[in-house]
Symmetry: C2
DNA sequence: TAGAGGGACCGTAACGTTTCAGATTGTTTT
DNA sequence: AAAACAATCTGAAACGTTACGGTCCCTCTA
């Protein structure tokens, strides 16, 4: 018995068919308790660890796992509270269904798409990757069910998301109503190339991150409607997503445009950094500077940030449920979750308030 | 072509052998560029998505994934900062190696061990599960490499951990040196059964969570050495691990033993909760009450908790590297990481300080 | 006692791939 | 001109399992 025992060798040893051994493990009702017991006993004696999961997967065409594509250093996913929330929700759904969660190693730097092809999963959840990412293309080429999240509608693919445009519009209207006309924007990365700098309107329009493109687009149109020339609005981008980056982005923006009275950030993390930078400069929030975020993470609550709360955990769970539901597939399913404007303590009227947008 | 294309059908269509098609994907140097191109073109035409990962795994006996067993609601793993840190480190190691991270759905309630058997992975990392957990047994029965973390030494199994005893001893000596003799302890769950209550010395000794057993044991011996009767020291256990539970545990303990001057907690989360409860009661920390934690999470830093910092992220990474290193297997490998006593602002001398343990 | 019914088990055919030891060329070396 | 070589491609044998459609035999019913 040099080579590890297999179902076949076990069957041979017992003098029964492979089917019977298989049934001993998978369909106990298909054989007599005595025989089953004998099978299990012999298995233990021979050191047979039970049916090989990979061989079983090949035969049953079920891997018992959901794949998650992040296209970001995996470790980053655990550092960003929003990503953690999403993961939590997704894990919840997987757990309920009794399937594993397979995190695909897809660093943005490494163009190596092989990991996507190597993943033995029953489907993929794709969370916030740029629309031109080769990993995304690789996932789409796999013949398995896929759910995208915070992603533009792809042909015939399930999707979970929020109405980013509507959400940030409400926020912007709040800022406008307070009288701000001289605003700046901090946003997350817009493409796979690093651009820790001001962003042209062109780059905004052609951003490869759907969520960011959507939010910037909505901001542009609502501010334009209020008479603000969007092409004059400074927008600063950061590739990495930490509060330090938020702080440095705020610094970069305020250095060049000390006149802005409000900083609209496309994420809470960036906004928290902006708050830090404001304090460093001796700017009082919200008296001297208004700051807003997006997401509704715990930290935002702690600093009383005015922001948009999105049900990030529900998003993960919805994505998981969508993926795992054996629902009949007639057309792609779309789920749009609700958001909520959270008024904190970081917004106020600008010091030399202009005419309010709406009447008194 | 009703059924999805396979490597074989593609080979048939092309009039070449399966080997050649396989080589086109896996060993481009083994066939002429022209033929390879023809293969890939035809694959696209027939909608062949490339070699099936499961079939490949079966043949190569490599799944390209590391399993993680947590035996806790997966979602919990994303809520506890320590667990998140561990995951982050583990994910880092997996990413470096280009392998996936397969989170095994193993709720403590569900006794369903099948998920462990179903997981197509090359090895397991087991993080802080009770030593009598059936999931752990299931993992051990699988013929794959396993690394345990925060776990007692298992026969012939790699292990990553810290010296919990030494670490908490340093902490306890600090508390003793300040003069405390009347202490209470808050600890995490000691077994798979829920016991949100005081803990007998017996239950402490037979705790199934290695880390907790170790820490309590070390506390017992260091306090005994200092002349404290450990059997009189109140220890309160909490099954769930949130700061709310820490608060309620502190309340339960202080209600019954209002005389304690120091609360030693076996985790930062519990300690943070204890701080909240102390404040609620109008107890000034550290004047009226000394509180200590364990772990060194970010929140601990924020509240200036005196605690033991353990390199939680390194732990995850070390576990991953150990699992994935193809090192020759001569005897189990053991890695013990360093810890550091972090003096915060939550420790002081008791109001009616007794004779200090050490000289002046 | 014939026939129906059902429990227990079996044989064969996949599942889709990689691997290994050749076979077949055309090209160079001696 | 024979021998050696490299480049390219092939055939058959695994890898370990489960699905499917049986067979066999015993018991129950009428």
């Amino acid at each position: 018995m040099r080579r590890p025992a297999t179902l076949a060798s076990l069957a041979a040893e017992l003098g029964v068919s492979r089917t019977t051994v298989s049934n001993a493990y998978n369909r106990p009702d298909q054989l007599s308790p005595e025989l089953r017991d004998r099978v299990l006993k012999t298995a233990e004696r021979l050191g047979y660890p039970g049916p090989d999961p990979v061989a079983r997967s090949l035969r049953t065409r079920k891997a018992g796992a959901a794949g998650l594509l992040l296209t970001e250093n995996l470790s980053y996913a655990f550092r960003d509270p929003a990503a953690v929330g999403f993961l939590e929700g997704l894990a919840l759904a997987c757990e309920d269904a009794g399937v594993g969660l397979h995190l695909v190693p897809a660093s943005p730097q490494r163009e190596d798409v092989a990991a996507v092809h190597r993943a033995g999963v029953d489907g993929f959840v794709v969370y916030s990757v740029p629309d031109d990412d080769p990993h995304l293309a690789a996932v789409m080429s796999r013949p398995v069910h896929t759910v995208v999240c915070d992603q533009p509608q792809l042909e015939d693919v399930d999707r979970v998301g929020i109405d980013d445009g509507a959400a940030i519009t409400k926020l912007a209207e709040h800022v406008l109503r307070l009288g701000h006309r001289s605003v700046g924007v901090l946003c997350m990365r817009l493409g796979r190339d690093r651009n820790d700098n001001f962003v042209s309107v062109d780059r905004q329009r052609s951003a490869h991150y759907h969520v960011q493109r959507r939010r910037l687009g909505a901001l542009a149109s609502v501010f334009e409607s209020a008479g603000v020339d969007w092409s004059k609005v400074p927008v600063v981008e950061r590739f990495d997503h930490t509060s330090e980056d938020g702080a440095s982005a705020a610094a970069q923006l305020l250095d060049k445009h000390p006149d802005v009275t409000a900083l609209v950030c496309t994420s809470d993390i960036l906004a928290v950094g902006a708050l830090t930078e404001a304090k460093r400069r001796g700017l009082r929030v919200p008296i001297d500077l208004t700051v807003t975020g997006f997401d509704g993470i715990a930290e935002a609550d702690r600093v009383e940030l005015t922001t948009v709360r999105q049900p990030i955990q529900d998003k993960g769970r919805a994505a998981g449920q969508l993926l795992l539901s054996a629902a009949e597939r007639n057309g792609p399913k779309l789920i749009t979750l609700d958001t909520e404007l959270l008024i904190g303590a970081t917004c106020g009227s600008p010091r030399n308030a202009e005419e309010p947008w709406f009447g008194p």
